[in-house]
Amino acid sequence: MTTAPGTPDAHVGTPPAAAPAARRVLAQAAFEARMILRNGEQVLVTAIVPVLALVGLVQGTFVELDTGGASRVDFLAPGILALAVMTASFTSQAIATAFDRRNGVLRLMATTPLGRGGLLAGKVLGVLAVEAVQVVLIGAAALALGWHPDPAGLALALVGVVLGTGAFTALALLVAGTLRAEAVLALANLLLLVLALGGGVVVPADRLPGPVAAVATWLPSGALGDVLRGALVDGTLPLVPVLVLAAWTVGLGALTARLFRWH
């Protein structure tokens, strides 16, 4: 049978095949990252706000900081990076996934060779790609402000970024997969604000007022801030916050796997 160009006839005898798994996941990761970086609101939250927060807090003397002997930028840059990880892996991802779920995008992609597992892997890689852009932008701004990160801590910081991304992506998928899109939009922004101010991210948990400090230490936000500060200020990986982050990642991941609804 002859068919017009563009007719998607199945090749007789040879069933159609999927592209290799790695290519599918990378394509999805690039797609996810592109969608986020093209969206003005997402760029504002993930890139512009953290950079402005860094510049404002370093230059502005209106906020008293006990930096423990470090320069203001050395003390603040790791916390701002932690905040950036939270915007990309939690706020931005929760909102994007919630609307994709409502619009049937998750279900459609789940029926392609990508599948549910590939979609999830693509999302995590897409978040890491956005974070790479954030690190470049925030790192450049911090260096311009005189940042001297501990060179030994750079690789250790990566551990914190990956663990934090795991925990906050799991949290993002948990809210996106259980609540209505509009509710996720509100909750994701509100939670980011609350954690940014009182979650031990930019200002360490132990500098927060008493009861808040006790809670913030055990939050994924406080743990992420402490891991990045430990790595980039002191060049060490603090054990307790690493364990706290790992526990959140496992716990939230398990909860998400149980409760996430595709419909």
Partner: protein, 322 residues
């Protein structure tokens, strides 16, 4: 009737085989013991009112929902357990589109094409479905018909052997609908099994080789369009026919019964139409028009006997709103 029709399916291999499917939401059975067979090289329409269980049934076939009971086989595989093997061979067009709102039309098609080893060249497919006019427009700015055409392109880009289309014509303009129907027919002729859900009679009549009428989660009739039209609910005695007459002016058709004689019934349906039932013959038509001519009334439309699929459907599923 069902056994008779199934025997017609024998030369075709069943691409989709659903047996005794049950799916409950919160304890309520939305699909309740449904059987469905769809063959390669044929278009199977699942026809039913809203809430009949059509979408849930195809979602079970697509591996998006796991059945509570019964079996679903697509190309001989279990859509949930054998998902990875099956997904490259199945194309899906969801009822709500499934397209991200921020993506450009062509970008979405190219993206999904990357999931396949040997996709249809997207330039040709986009041209075929008229996507070029809005290639760089984001999905949120597309019209309903444009979205549906894009969703269809996405569904077929992997050269599927089985294609599930859930309400493909919803929100489509007539041009888009024609383009979609034409492509669906070509895919069928090229050997694909096409399963589409619809509540549009026109779509089932125009497109389907096999119609499965579903209501309350179960199959209440099936067959070709011709089979369904011939199937009666008591009125299809060979000699009996129906003549539905639309007229230009209001007439009281009571006098017409005397003219036609015994064995005929005349029913006033509205100010401008009435129905004649009985042994309708060519002469009957002449009698009716002559009687109207004497009263200077013009026939604006005349339907002889054949029920429409809509009549069958309404007889089967009831006329009450739901």
């Amino acid at each position: 009737m069902r056994e008779h029709l199934d025997s017609l399916d024998v030369p075709h291999s069943p691409a989709v085989e659903v047996r005794g499917l049950v799916k409950r939401y919160d304890g309520r059975a939305v699909v309740d013991g449904l059987d469905l067979t769809a063959s390669a090289g044929r278009v199977t329409a699942v026809l039913g009112p809203n809430g009949a269980g059509k979408t849930t049934t195809v979602e079970c076939c697509e591996g998006l929902r796991a059945p509570d009971a019964g079996s679903v086989r697509v190309l001989g595989l279990d859509p949930v357990a054998d998902g990875p093997a099956l997904r490259p061979r199945v194309g899906v067009m969801l009822q709500d589109g499934g397209l991200p709102t921020g993506v450009r039309a062509r970008e979405m098609l190219d993206h999904v094409a990357r999931m396949y080893a040997d996709p249809v060249p997207t330039d040709a497919l986009a041209a075929r479905l008229g996507l070029d006019a809005f290639a760089r427009t984001t999905v949120r700015r597309l019209s309903g018909g444009q979205r549906q055409r894009l969703a269809l392109a996405v569904a077929v880009v992997g050269r599927p052997q089985v294609l599930f289309l859930d309400e493909p014509s919803a929100g489509m303009d007539p041009q888009s609908r024609l383009a979609v129907w034409e492509l669906v027919r070509e895919l069928r002729d090229a050997g694909a099994a096409v399963v589409l859900t619809t509540h549009l009679m026109e779509e089932a009549e125009g497109l389907a080789d096999h119609v499965v009428v579903v209501d309350h989660g179960t199959v209440i009739a099936q067959g070709s369009v011709a089979d369904l039209l011939a199937s009666g609910t008591g009125t299809a005695v060979d000699d009996d026919g129906t003549l539905v007459v639309r007229v230009s002016a209001d007439v009281d058709p009571a006098g017409l019964r005397e003219r036609l004689g015994a064995g005929f019934g005349v029913e006033h349906r509205s100010a401008s139409s009435f129905a004649v039932t009985g042994p309708v013959r060519p002469g009957t038509v002449a009698d009716v028009t002559a009687w109207l001519a004497e009263r200077d009334v013009l026939v604006t439309r005349l339907d002889t006997g054949r029920r429409t699929l809509e009549d069958v459907f309404l007889d089967l599923t009831g006329r009450s709103l739901r």
